[in-house]
């Protein structure tokens, strides 16, 4: 029996090696923060600089200012996306109020599709809708005589956060509502019957039965969001960034890319990456702790 167990382990070995190489080994490269790292050169002992990279980053006033802006952007985008969480709940509640089920099905299918297209394609959609010369909105407005010249919606430094959250909501709202539909199908239908007998109207039933039953799901989504607070995606700000909006769109992930891959400041990129990993671990465990405390159940 014991031999059988070891035999099973041997079949697992190739996969253990694969996951070690792809997921664990990158941590070994953290040592590059203590070196004067250049992509084409090996990390030899004469390039060892100790904590100089940290000191340089903290001492560089220009870099630090940019970093504070990047933090503000990340927190603003994550915070705003958290504010949009209840939208999905209301989407589900109101859609389920509609009795015509083919209509419901079609709305569900059409509104979930944007969740499954890439951010590059969302940007393509954005540019065919809002491009200055050949975007749909500008063409329509010019043809109707509302404006003489196209407005540059996409390369504007105004309301960058709100615009990005609007795209994020467009992409994810329909899909996020799916969770609430599932939670709603678990509500005991007799509750509604009893409420109706007691003379509760439509909104009284939503307020006193549906919403309280959905709050736990909303809470789980909130915890997941807190755990990912520093990880506002890379691809969305990356595809939407341009010279005009860069100041307000650069998130931590994008900063790491702009500094370390597009730019020449690999040291700063690695330092921020490492800090982000630790902060994100702390957030995951504290979010989980809060969940355990409140719901007596862990999310992860």
């Amino acid at each position: 029996m014991k031999q059988k167990g070891f035999h099973l382990f041997l079949m697992l070995v190739p996969f253990i090696i694969l996951v070690f190489l792809l997921n664990y080994l990158p941590l070994y490269h953290w040592r590059a923060v203590f070196y004067n790292y250049k992509p084409s050169l090996a990390l030899t002992s004469d390039r060892f600089v100790g904590f100089d990279n940290f000191i340089n980053l903290i001492g560089n006033k220009f870099q630090m200012e940019r970093l504070f802006q990047v933090l503000a952007n990340t927190f603003a985008l994550s915070g705003l996306s958290m504010l949009t969480l209840p939208l999905a709940m209301f989407f589900a509640i109101f859609l389920s109020e509609i009795r015509c089920s083919p209509f419901k099905k079609v709305v569900q299918t059409l509104t979930t599709i944007p969740n499954f297209i890439s951010w590059v394609l969302v940007y393509s959609v954005a540019s065919s809708a809002f491009a200055t010369n050949d975007g749909f909105v500008n063409r329509l407005l010019v043809q109707m005589g509302v404006i003489d010249q196209g407005i540059s919606f996409l390369s504007s430094s105004n309301h960058v956060w709100i615009v990005q959250i609007a795209w994020y909501t467009w992409k994810s709202l329909g899909w996020s509502a799916i969770m609430y539909f599932a939670a709603m199908s678990n509500i005991d239908q007799e509750l509604y019957g009893a409420a109706e007998v007691d003379g509760a109207g439509r909104f009284a039933r939503i307020w006193h039965i549906t919403i309280p039953s959905l709050v736990p799901t909303l809470f789980v989504m909130l915890v997941l969001n807190i755990a990912n607070f520093v990880n506002y995606g890379f691809e969305q700000p990356f595809v939407f960034q341009n010279v005009m909006n860069q100041r307000y769109i650069e998130t931590l992930d994008l900063f790491v890319y702009n500094q370390g891959i597009a730019g020449r400041n690999q040291a700063a990129a690695i330092i921020i990456g490492i800090l982000k990993t630790f902060v994100s671990l702390v957030l995951v465990f504290s979010a989980n702790g809060v969940s355990k405390l409140v719901r007596k159940e862990s999310v992860f």
Binding site: G5, L22, P26, S118, A182, L281
Partner: protein
């Protein structure tokens, strides 16, 4: 059951719900419709901005011409290959590992399960990841696209499912002299179809949409994917001009058929979104069951 008659308020709310949901559904689908009618309309009318709500001068030359452009034909091939190979690899390897991990008598079972699951939270960061991939020789290498076959989230889904399969079925097969691998292929795989379909559709969408790995790991134009080509075209008109020059597109004299930068962008967008638009409604239930299973803690 008795139904009360609709009051004025009910009617008002019904009308507003229908209106809001119709508008939002249109907002989700109209952009794709708009791009599509522009790709099948006469290209000169499209350039002048005359195609807003319905197609005019319908033709399909854009689709025929675009695959003749060398870069796009190759990018399509790479994208389809990575999607197919990556999905098959992920489904087979993840379900095999999940099956082994579900065996109670596996040596150090708990340790190995944690070893795989912890990777959910292990994120070394972009630069260390890049350094690692370069060290492993996975830059400018097609394998980089398809080698990440073990995804911890999928692993949890499949393991939970496999643990629900009655042991008696496996034992019966083992009585007949079947080894672990035979049991996996003959018993576990066929019985796990629903959960495997779920991870397959999610992996396929992920592979099809993946963009960042090309951006960071691949300099070689031969390994470019459709998503990356689309992004390049959206950002750099120079890359479109280069492609148009080498294509002999100038030989087409008819202005309604002549490829333009906008027609190329729009046509690639439709090529990229087409499989998702067509397949999503068919596989919708697998996507939905995926999020339900995912909601159950692993």
């Amino acid at each position: 059951m008795f139904r009360k008659k609709l009051t004025g308020w009910d009617l008002l709310f019904n009308i507003s719900f229908y209106t809001i949901f119709t508008l939002f559904a249109l907002l989700c689908i109209f952009p794709f419709y708009y791009i599509f009618i522009n790709t099948i309309s006469a290209n000169d009318l499209s350039t002048k901005g005359l195609i807003l709500f319905y197609p005019r001068g319908i033709h399909f030359d854009n689709y025929l011409e675009i695959f003749k452009l060398k870069d796009i034909g190759r990018a399509t091939l790479v994208t389809v290959s990575r999607t197919v190979i990556g999905t098959v690899g992920t489904v087979l390897c993840t379900s095999f590992v999940a099956y082994i991990l579900s065996k109670k008598n596996l040596w150090k079972r708990k340790l190995w399960y944690r070893f795989f699951i912890i990777t959910m939270y292990l994120n070394a960061g972009l630069i260390p990841w890049y350094m690692n991939m370069r060290m492993l020789g996975l830059t400018n290498n097609f394998f980089a696209y398809v080698i990440g076959v073990i995804n911890p989230y999928n692993l949890v889904l499949v393991k939970t499912f496999v643990e629900g399969i009655p042991d008696s079925l496996e034992e019966a097969a083992e009585m007949d002299g079947a080894g672990t691998i035979t049991v996996f292929f003959r018993v576990i795989l066929p019985l796990s179809k629903p959960v495997l379909a779920t991870i397959a559709v999610f992996t396929a969408v992920l592979q099809w949409n993946q963009f960042m790995d090309t951006l960071i790991l691949m300099d070689d134009a031969r390994l470019t994917t459709l998503q990356y080509v689309l992004w390049q075209f959206l950002n750099q008109s120079s890359s479109i001009a280069r492609i148009l020059q080498g294509s002999g597109a100038a030989a087409i004299i008819d202005p309604s058929r002549l490829l333009t930068p906008t027609s190329i962008k729009m046509t690639i967008s439709i090529v990229v979104v087409f499989p998702i638009m067509v397949l999503y409604p068919i596989f919708q239930r697998y996507f939905v069951s995926g999020i339900m299973l995912g909601a159950v803690k692993g």
